[in-house]
């Protein structure tokens, strides 16, 4: 009897799996048509996007820490970043939407300024340099196109992107396919993305001048400063310029979303990422424990730059669960497990509690916990051996925990009563978060987003 019941349950579950797979590939008849008929019997379609929407977004980020990777895991990490961004979504017709996402990221960084700390008479890893590398600007553009089927159960999308900064440029493209089924209660998506990036490497100034002068100390900064040290002569024999300058990233993403009941829905995500090429950062110094130390003023001269494998395989798996508790309160949660072949594994847990103050204002406290193991190639300042093949003292690849907590407020008006010229204000979001990493890095982030709808 029990066996018979088990067989019946298994058969039912197999049928459900078949329905999910068949639904994804469009093999099932569609039950929910979006083509409706008016009182005269004439069919019409609801537009995917009723009118043009414009988002203005901005963030201000400020961090500080004591483990600068540019100075080998020791030194100030002060950084500020401002990111004005505009996103315009335009309906091309009933079914097609074109989205343009353009942004800047303008930063000033004490850490990267120390790629060349020798523009000061007293170079130090604890003071900000005024050199050219102390600030930069990333410009990014993404153009996306999406097409929805008449029944709105199938969505195709494609995108192309590009970004550029002083020493780095990236182009990307990709596409995806989404299938809704089960009365739009289930959704399966698959997408693929490719990013082709190129470095224009810049190196720590002392290594650059050492190599430019035929592995000798006659030239460049060595004409202006005296090198002090443990005896002998500064001779970073491990250093050589990178041959490869490309960094390519390939990713496949799958996601499944399900409405469970009138109050609960969830999503599952799986990404598979492969990176190839120059995966280390050319201006991040490394100091070897088995080599003599040499200084110009307080600044220790590099033994080499960070060296990392030229491939990396990453697998993150994530899930979101959102629960509508009551008309005042919603629970939003997110979890991710991550692993890669550099030895890093990580857990991320996120919780947010939107509280509706009235029909227009919602406040939401939030908390995020993050923990990761160290990459196999990480060691702190002056702890690597010169006999190792790969090494880095970048604390972003170290073992640490991080806590992020903050709050936000959202104004929403679906009727867009408030407007500026022909653009109605649909929503305004302001959020603040404090980020604290167990290695001493602290950051504050303020983000602002306003959405306009053409009326």
């Amino acid at each position: 009897m029990a066996v018979k019941q088990a067989v019946v349950v298994a058969a039912i579950n197999m049928k459900k799996i078949f329905l999910i797979v068949a639904g994804f590939f469009g093999l099932l008849p569609v039950s929910a048509q979006e083509v409706e008929q008016d009182s005269t019997g004439v069919g019409y379609k609801k537009r995917v996007l009723e009118s043009t929407e414009v988002d203005f977004l901005m963030s201000y980020y400020k961090q500080d820490g004591i483990h600068s990777a540019v100075s080998g895991g020791k030194g100030m990490e002060e950084l500020t970043d401002i990111t004005p961004t505009i996103v315009i979504a335009m309906p091309l017709n009933d079914d097609d939407v074109l989205t343009v996402d353009a942004g800047l990221s303008a930063y000033s960084s004490a850490s990267s300024g120390n790629i060349n700390p020798f523009d000061s008479n007293t170079p130090s890893p604890w003071q900000a340099s005024s050199g050219a590398s102390a600030s930069d600007q990333l410009t990014a553009l993404v153009v996306s196109y999406s097409h929805s089927s008449d029944d709105r159960n199938t969505i195709w999308n494609a995108h192309a992107s590009g970004s550029t900064e002083y020493d780095y440029s990236s182009i990307g493209f990709g596409g995806g396919y989404t299938r809704l089924f089960n009365d739009k209660n289930s959704e399966l998506s698959a997408s693929a993305n490719v990013y082709l990036d190129t470095w224009q490497p810049i190196y720590p100034k002392e290594l650059q001048d050492y190599a430019d002068n035929g592995n000798d100390l006659n030239g460049g900064i060595f004409n202006y400063f005296d090198v002090e040290g443990d005896g002998g002569t500064y001779n970073p024999t491990a250093f050589k310029f990178h041959d490869k300058k490309n960094r390519n990233s390939y990713s496949l993403s799958l996601s499944y979303s399900q409405v469970v009941n009138q109050n609960l829905q969830f999503s599952l995500f799986l990404d598979v990422l492969q990176q190839q090429g120059l995966l280390s950062t050319p201006y991040q110094r490394v100091y070897f424990a088995d080599k003599a130390n040499y200084y110009i003023n307080e600044f220790q001269l590099a033994d080499d730059i960070e060296r990392l494998p030229d491939t990396r395989f990453k697998v993150p798996v994530g899930a979101r669960f959102n629960y509508y508790i009551n008309q005042w309160l919603v629970l939003r949660t997110y979890y991710r497990y991550y692993t890669d072949d550099w030895g890093v594994s990580a857990h991320t847990a996120n919780i947010e509690l939107p509280i509706k103050l009235n029909d227009k204002f919602t406040v939401f406290p939030m908390y995020r916990y993050y923990t990761q193991t160290a990459a196999d190639y990480f060691a702190p300042y002056d702890a690597h051996s010169s006999t190792e093949k790969y090494y880095t003292s970048d604390y972003d690849l170290s073992k640490f925990d991080a806590h992020q907590y903050g709050a936000g407020i959202i104004y929403t008006d679906i009727f867009t009563k408030a407007h500026i010229w022909a653009m109605g204000i649909k929503s305004v979001e302001l959020r603040y978060n404090h980020y604290n990493r167990s290695d001493g890095l602290d950051a504050n982030i303020i983000s602002f987003a306003i959405k306009f709808v053409r009326i």
Binding site: D81, S255, F269, D271, L441
Partner: protein, 69 residues
């Protein structure tokens, strides 16, 4: 424990195929119930990608750009 969690999630997914009709989705369609990050969250995800070794599985960008400062 991990297998138990995966089994529970799969069971939940399979059991959940009962249909919620469009007219019953007022709560599901609430803006706070969206299964995506909020617009203003994109910057936090960006900084987290820069400051942490892991990335992905959150609907955000999975490559491109240096992120090395």
């Amino acid at each position: 424990m991990k297998n138990l969690l995966i089994s529970a999630l799969m069971l939940l997914a399979l059991q959940s195929c009962s249909s919620v009709k469009e007219y019953q989705k007022q709560r599901i369609n609430d803006p706070d119930m969206k299964l995506t990050a909020r617009p203003g969250e994109r910057f936090e995800i960006n900084y987290q990608v820069y400051r942490e070794a892991s990335a992905g599985a959150n609907g955000g960008k999975t490559g491109g750009g240096c992120g090395c400062n």
